[in-house]
């Protein structure tokens, strides 16, 4: 009983989850490499959609803390990658209308 009360008390709010989602997407944008940017974005969307229907507060909380750990990793990596940014941008990011 005490355990369920604890778990119920720590249910993450929707706003917290959405805020983490937004932070991850923003961090994804900071990578200079298009591939990593696209991967991070895709992975967060997939990850959040996969766990969309969780109802148990403790599993929601653990998914959220996983997400937060990933966010920290992504942030550090974005900084390190920016130090060694490639000089040539990926073709996917150049804003030109190429005709095949």
């Amino acid at each position: 009983m005490a355990f369920s009360a604890y778990a119920a008390a720590t249910r993450p709010s929707k706003a917290e989850v959405l805020s983490l989602f937004r932070s991850l997407l923003r961090t994804a944008r900071q990578f200079p490499d298009y591939n990593i940017k696209a991967y991070t974005k895709r992975r967060t969307i997939d990850g959040f959609r996969h766990n969309q229907n969780l109802s148990d507060p403790s599993s929601i909380a653990s998914a959220l803390s996983d997400g937060k750990a990933q966010l920290e990793i992504a942030r550090r990596q974005a900084i390190v990658h920016s130090l060694y940014a490639p000089s040539v941008r990926s073709i996917m990011e150049t804003n030109s209308e190429l005709t095949c």
Binding site: A15, R22, L25, R26, R29, R49
Partner: protein, 142 residues
């Protein structure tokens, strides 16, 4: 140095104490003006109320609304014929909260703006999104 009662006024007074050419940087239809130059106050001049020369529009430009609609359609995978107008609510179009966040992110990238956390949570319709984009673009260029 000068006080205007009415809408947005800003004045810059130059530092030379003897010559006082007051250069108004922005005036919009003042109703009454009272100047005080070197400590002497002049009697206030009340201007006749005049019809404002420019209209402040609240609605966003149609191109902006159209771009927002396109991004929403792409995000929610709606066909081109589906009716997405300024009044469409995201939830009515089948978007959940994650979709809404993705849409706002897409709009940020498309228009090169940055939306605050709190403002992003209050967007529910296409028109609101377009209006906020216009505001942000205006503040950015101002």
């Amino acid at each position: 140095m000068a006080s205007f009662t009415a809408t947005s006024i800003s004045m810059t007074s130059l530092s030379t104490p003897f010559k006082q050419p007051l250069v108004p940087s922005r005036i919009s239809s003042p109703n009454s003006v009272s100047l005080s130059i070197r400590g002497r106050t002049f009697p206030s001049i009340t201007l006749q109320p005049r019809v404002p020369r420019f209209q402040v529009t609240c609605a966003a430009k149609p191109e902006t609304v159209q771009k927002v609609c396109d991004i929403v359609k792409k995000q929610l995978a709606l066909s081109d014929e589906s009716p997405v107008t300024g009044e469409s609510k995201f939830s009515a179009l089948g978007a959940d909260s994650l979709d809404t966040v993705e849409i706002v992110m897409g709009l940020e990238e498309e228009f090169g703006i940055s939306v605050e956390e709190e403002s992003a949570q209050t967007i529910t319709t296409v028109q609101e999104a377009a209006d906020m984009i216009e505001d942000l673009l205006e503040n950015k260029s101002a």
